[in-house]
C-alpha cells in the first residue's frame, strides 16, 4: 500500500510555501525545503515531492517539461507520459497538465506537470509509492486543494507549526528550520524582513522578563521597548530611526545600511512559543502592512 493511502483517513493540514498551497495528511512533514522545492515524508518514508518555478517568455506545454526531465544518458525512457485519471482531471481543471509515471528498482512514482496559464508557473508534483501500486486517494485530495497563486496581495507560508501571510512585494531570501528556532528571511529593494520563531518559551524565558530575552534574541533591539498586543498575546516592540540632527544625520545619509529598524517579539503562551519579527532597511515608516503581518503570523 502506498504512503498516500495509509494516511488518507487521518487529519489534514495546510502546507504553503513560496506561492504554492495544498492540504496534506497531518502525518506528512517536510523533509527537505528549498526556495521552490518541497519534499514531504510520511512516517513510512518520502511521500511527495513538489518543484516549481516561473515559466520563461512563453508558457510551454507540460509535455515539453516532461521531455526535459528525461535523463539524457539513459538507455531507456524512465519517465513515461500517462493520461490523467478522471479524479486528477477534475482536481486540476483550469490547468494545463501532463501525467507521468516512473519506476526504477524498488521505487516508483506517479505525478503530474501542471502549467498555470494565470500565473505562468510550472509545477511538478509526484507521489512516491511501491512499484505496481498507484498514488492512492490521498493524492486526489491533495491535488484538489492545490493552488499555485492566491487572490490576495499576500503569500501564505505554512510549514511545520508556523503560518504567516507575507506581503507579495517581499521575496523569500532564506529559511532556517532548526530544532528550537525557525527563521524565514525575505527581502525587497531597500528592506529586509525576518520572521522568527523560538521554542519552547518556558525554557527560554525561565522567569526572565521578555525584554531581556528579546534584546538577546534580536540583535540591534536597543533602548526602551514599548508594550504591544499582537492578537491575544502580549509583546514588546523596538523602533529605531536615523539620528535627525548633528553630524550623525549626515553620516547616516552618506553611508548605506539599515537606517530604520523595527523589532517585535511576543509570547504565544498557549503554544509555548516566542514569535518575533525584524524589519530593517532604508525605507521610512509607516508600514501599513506590518500590523496585519504580525496579526497573521502565528504558531499553529
Amino acid at each position: 500500500m502506498s504512503a498516500a493511502t495509509t494516511t488518507a483517513a487521518g487529519r489534514w493540514c495546510e502546507t504553503a510555501w513560496n506561492g504554492v498551497r495544498l492540504q496534506v495528511p497531518a502525518g506528512w512533514h517536510p523533509r527537505e525545503v528549498g526556495r521552490r522545492y518541497l519534499l514531504l515524508a510520511s512516517p513510512a518514508g518520502p511521500a511527495m515531492e513538489l518543484r516549481w518555478g516561473p515559466a520563461a517568455k512563453t508558457l510551454p506545454a507540460p509535455a515539453d517539461y516532461l521531455r526535459r526531465l528525461q535523463p539524457r544518458n539513459a538507455s531507456r525512457r524512465l519517465i513515461r507520459p500517462t493520461p490523467l485519471s478522471a479524479a486528477w482531471q477534475k482536481a486540476l481543471a483550469g490547468f494545463a497538465c501532463q501525467g507521468f509515471t516512473w519506476s526504477d528498482g524498488g521505487q516508483a512514482a506517479s505525478g503530474v506537470v501542471i502549467c498555470c496559464p494565470a500565473c505562468r508557473k510550472a509545477t511538478l508534483v509526484q507521489f512516491f509509492h511501491p512499484p505496481g501500486a498507484g498514488a492512492g486517494p490521498a493524492a486526489d485530495r491533495i491535488l484538489t486543494a492545490f493552488r499555485d497563486h492566491g487572490a490576495t496581495q499576500t503569500v501564505v507560508y505554512a510549514l511545520f507549526d508556523i503560518r504567516a501571510e507575507v506581503p507579495a512585494m517581499f521575496e523569500l531570501a532564506a529559511q532556517r528550520f532548526e530544532s528550537g528556532y525557525f527563521e524565514l528571511a525575505f527581502r525587497r529593494p531597500r528592506q529586509r524582513l525576518v520572521l522568527h520563531r523560538w521554542g519552547p518559551a518556558q525554557v527560554l524565558l525561565q522567569g526572565a522578563p521578555l525584554a531581556t530575552l528579546g534584546r538577546r534574541l534580536l540583535p540591534g533591539s536597543d533602548g526602551r521597548p514599548e508594550d504591544l498586543v499582537v492578537g491575544a498575546h502580549r509583546g514588546l516592540g523596538w523602533s529605531q530611526g536615523p539620528p535627525d540632527r548633528g553630524w550623525q544625520r549626515w553620516w547616516g545619509l552618506l553611508h548605506p545600511g539599515e537606517r530604520f529598524r523595527h523589532y517585535r517579539i511576543w509570547h504565544a503562551v498557549d503554544r509555548n512559543r516566542l514569535m518575533g519579527i525584524s524589519l530593517e532597511g532604508r525605507l521610512a515608516p509607516p508600514h501599513p502592512w506590518l500590523e496585519a503581518l504580525c496579526e497573521a503570523y502565528e504558531s499553529i
Binding site: 512533514h29 511545520f160 507549526d161 521554542g199 525554557v203 503554544r271
Partner: protein, 144 residues
C-alpha cells in the same frame, strides 16, 4: 590508471524505523546529581584509550587509568534524560518529550535523536535493539 575511482558505497546503517524502535538504557556507572536549578550533572568514568596509555607508559608518564568526566545538562537535556527508563523506545521518548514542551513532532524527533547520539558517543547510554532486529555494527546480520 583510473584517475577517478568509484567510492565504496557507504554502510546503510539502521533505518529510521529501526532506530526509533530501539530502547535507550542508561549506563549504570553514570551518577546523577540534581542541582538547585533543577538541572542534572552527570558524572561518568572514562578509560583512556589503549594506544594513549601505551604511549604514556613509553614516555614514562604515570598510567592515566580511569578518569572521571562531568556533563552538565540543560533543562531540555535533563527532561530528556529523565525520560530514559530502559523501557521506553526512542519513539516513545520523542513523543513524551514533544508533548511535554509542545514541540512539533519532527522538531522533537531531531532534538531527542541528536541528544541521544551525543550521549551514545560519550558512552552514557546504550541502545537495545528490538527483538528480531539484531545487527552487527556494520549493519549486517551477525554470522552464525
Amino acid at each position: 590508471m583510473k584517475v577517478f575511482k568509484r567510492r565504496a558505497a557507504a554502510s546503510a546503517g539502521a533505518s529510521r524505523e529501526a532506530s526509533l524502535a530501539c530502547r535507550p538504557a542508561k549506563n549504570p556507572e553514570v551518577q546523577e546529581t540534581l542541582q538547585d536549578s533543577g538541572e542534572l550533572l552527570l558524572t561518568y568514568p572514562v578509560r583512556a584509550r589503549p594506544w594513549f596509555e601505551a604511549l604514556a607508559r613509553r614516555l614514562g608518564a604515570p598510567a592515566a587509568g580511569v578518569q572521571t568526566r562531568r556533563l552538565q545538562l540543560d533543562t531540555l537535556g535533563t527532561a530528556a534524560w529523565q525520560l530514559l527508563d530502559g523501557q521506553r523506545t526512542v519513539a516513545a521518548v520523542v513523543q513524551a518529550f514533544g508533548r511535554k514542551f509542545q514541540l512539533h513532532p519532527r522538531e522533537a524527533e531531531v532534538s531527542v535523536t541528536r541528544f541521544l547520539k551525543e550521549l551514545g558517543k560519550r558512552g552514557l547510554i546504550g541502545l537495545k535493539a528490538p527483538p528480531g532486529a539484531v545487527r552487527t555494527a556494520a549493519g549486517r546480520p551477525p554470522r552464525t
